[in-house]
Amino acid sequence: MIYQGLHDLTKEVEDKRAARTSADPMNRRLFLKVSGLAGGGMVLAFRLGSGPGSLLAASQDGDKEFAPNGYVRIPSQGKIVIFAKNPEIGQGVKTALPMIVAEELDADWADVEVQQSEIDEERYGRQFAGGSLAIPLNWDPLRKAGAVARHMLVAAAAQQWSVEASECRTEKSAVVHEASGRRLGYGELAEKAAAVPLPDPEAVALKEHSQYKLLGKRITGVDNRALVTGEALFGIDQKVPGMLYATYQKCPATGGKVAEANLDEVRALAGVKDAFVLEGNDHVDELMPGVAIVATSTWAAISAKRRLKVTWDEEGASKDSWSSSVEKAHELAKGDGTLLREKGDVAQAFENADKIVEAFYQYPFLAHAPLEPQNCTAWFRDGAVELWAPTQTPQSALGKVAHTLGIPEAKVTLHQTRIGGGFGRRLVNDYVCEAAAISQKAGAPVKLQWTREDDMAHDFYRVAGFHSFKGAVDSSGKLSAWQDHFITFSDDGERPVAAGSLGRSEFPEYLLSNFRITQSMMPLATPCGYWRAPGSNGIAFAVQCFLHELAVAAGRDHLEFLLEVMGEPRWMESGNPRALHTGRAAAVIRLAAEKSGWGKPLPEGRGRGLAFHFSHMGHIAEVAEVSVDADKRLKVHRVTVAGDVGPIVNLGAAENQCQGSVIDGFSTALGLQVTMEKGRVQEDNFHQYPILGMPATPQVDVHFIQSDYSPTGLGEPALPPVAPAICNAIFAATGQRVSSLPLSKHGYSA
């Protein structure tokens, strides 16, 4: 299977890497690796052992194990071990990916023990958490990994019984020969299976959807018992012998250097072992200048950091100002911008229009604010470094750390831990590089602990965006023209910052015959990055609300209007089964409408709002039902989610992702915003960045259309429709159109 144009994130990463390749040979190598992945390398990512000799592994107690590939280990006694390859950030892959293996293996889930795998690209291919890609990229390799193991176990049993393999079947971790009533457990077959020649994985039969026993069920997370009893799972929980505790203070305005610091005073504080300046390497995703404090406890390190006084040289530092950017965006909106893409004759369509609507939409910068503040344990010794890191991109961390320390990548070892929230923040490994550099200089193992304030001040933020829209409906009430002057930010004057592009997968590409997209860019020094559903998380708000404005102007029902925009069922990019399919879109839009009671009367003061958005290969429609009182207290009563991401792997976790996306989307739309002045982020902890709590939580109903398309991920696509569905519902309830976020800036509260 070829994954052309997986989605904008992958494209954007590749574009950026490609742009840097000519200057930097290190990056060329990385670029090739990523290209291989996106262009079909996932099939190659299925790696078997190096030959039959490697299939039989001896465990520590001398027991013989069947280890046909990197994912499965079957000892003659005890649990079947299935390895989870990717970082677990709460998206559920530590359970879901092994479920795929177990299904094809026909292992009884109760017999399975899941272990986190080592970082090993040879064995596991790309290991990362991002882009909602774990399921689509690993679906085929993991099914084959399980099927190959099962095939060999069946062959071993058939051999032992001197029957044909075709006469045998498997169930609940055993091979059964129905005719003779014989049965052998996988453990009993382990040693013999290891001697069976490896089959061609492409030739091994996979199950049909209708044969699934495990996939599609609600399976509780494999770490749940450890989580509820407080076991050490996360990066922050790691401890190594002789470990010291570190903090790191960087300039609050990105790019500032240490001019002077009261290091002697800090070194004299109780519990402090050392304090020193790191010059950094000027790579914001590796090591920026700062002061490290190494102490005997986290508290000693944090206390000492509070007494640290640094004078910063801010000559080259960020001077970003949010308030100035907003003013400038309004100025730029008066102009045309640079043409990005256009189709048809927009001018003519506006000429012939029955109604023309113009609007200006705006969404703010955001922090990721995962609940586990950034941290990493690093142990530099003998020219090598060992890391225990909560990172979404462990393989990329190896290169970054090697570059930071000036050591070969082979001298970097990384152990992945469970991660207390990612949301895209931990795609960047700055805190990993910092921990490594501090350990190197301190000559001791250290756990670097960022405070919440550090985390808020040094994020790779979701970039803000502005859309100056003009749209038209014709005399039949049809959407006839769309113009979007998109105003974004750039750190090099050439291209938008990370996730600051308006990609082709966004409306109205392919769907309208007359549109014109232009772009303006404003300078930015604050680092930006990928935030859950990058690009779409802001664009969906603007686009799906403006679509509703046009439906209202046309005097049309939003549901009918949206279905008309989708038109006949068809793929939007021919030959790409990962693109928008208007039939799948229409089906989830209809389902969300039906389940939410769309069109049925509501009490006075209540309204429903609809939004659909295609992102990360997921087709998701949502309907929000809200009411607003005289004091602008907003109650979101219910959100109905309808999604099509193909067959569902773990139903309970899939529902959880949708529920969480709705709450995250509501929380963010209502009250979250990061602002910068003089290059400094103003919000420094949860009192200024108010994540919503339980009392505001709406009821969330989740419905899936389990189509036969190959399954795709759910970590992200349920988020983008939330804000526009809520804002469209506010309009339905009150007649008030909200065109900039967060809602709290307009007086709304929960």
Binding site: L269, S303, I691, P695
Partner: protein, 186 residues
């Protein structure tokens, strides 16, 4: 220098106070999960959170914000939920402290822990120890909480992943089971 806890044997690294340090180093006695711990040479103003995590190796209690806003650090002191990031260790010396590690009794999980597994509450799971400790304190005080009681008791526990619906379901389910006669300790 390294000091070993007399009771649990956990090694603690401490450093003698420096003359100019503004700490008064002293020893602390803490009763955690029914066991007495002696922590030597510690700044008694250290928040309980960091004594639990760094000195006693009880890492189930989490650091999230350090200003009492997120609830990831909730433990029970004298049966009452407190934010351990804002509670000095000295202030709770000699008072019984229960952490997430001590919620199960004799290897049997608390009904809330069972319900959390059954309802597959967690996504990243980082906040859940604090959520469970807040919920356990609620059920001890109010065995039959209304939906509103639950919301109020848990309002200060943030979940960045947004698992509130399942948290509420799990609490209701555990309360139901506990009221159904199952013996629960805490």
């Amino acid at each position: 220098m390294e000091i070993t806890c007399q009771v649990c044997g956990f090694a603690v690294q401490v450093q003698a106070a420096r003359i100019s340090g503004r700490w008064e180093m002293s020893a602390l006695r803490l009763e955690v999960n029914g066991r007495e711990h002696q922590v030597e040479e510690i700044d008694p103003a250290t928040p309980l959170l960091w004594v639990l995590r760094d000195s006693l190796g009880l890492v189930g209690t989490k650091y999230g914000c350090g200003i009492g806003m997120c609830g990831a650090c909730v433990v029970h002191v004298d049966g009452v939920p407190v934010r351990s990031c804002l509670t000095s260790a000295q202030a709770v010396a000699d008072k019984p402290i229960t952490t997430i590690e001590g919620l199960a009794t004799d290897g049997e999980l608390h009904a809330l822990q069972e319900a959390w597994i059954e309802h597959d509450v967690a996504q990243c799971g980082y906040c859940q120890a604090g959520q469970i400790m807040s919920a356990a304190a609620l059920l001890k005080e109010n065995p039959k909480p209304s939906a509103k009681d639950i919301e109020e008791a848990l309002a200060g526990n943030l979940c960045r992943c947004g698992t509130y619906l399942r948290i509420r379901e799990a609490i209701e389910s555990a309360a139901g089971k506990m009221n159904g006669g199952k013996e629960i300790g805490s």
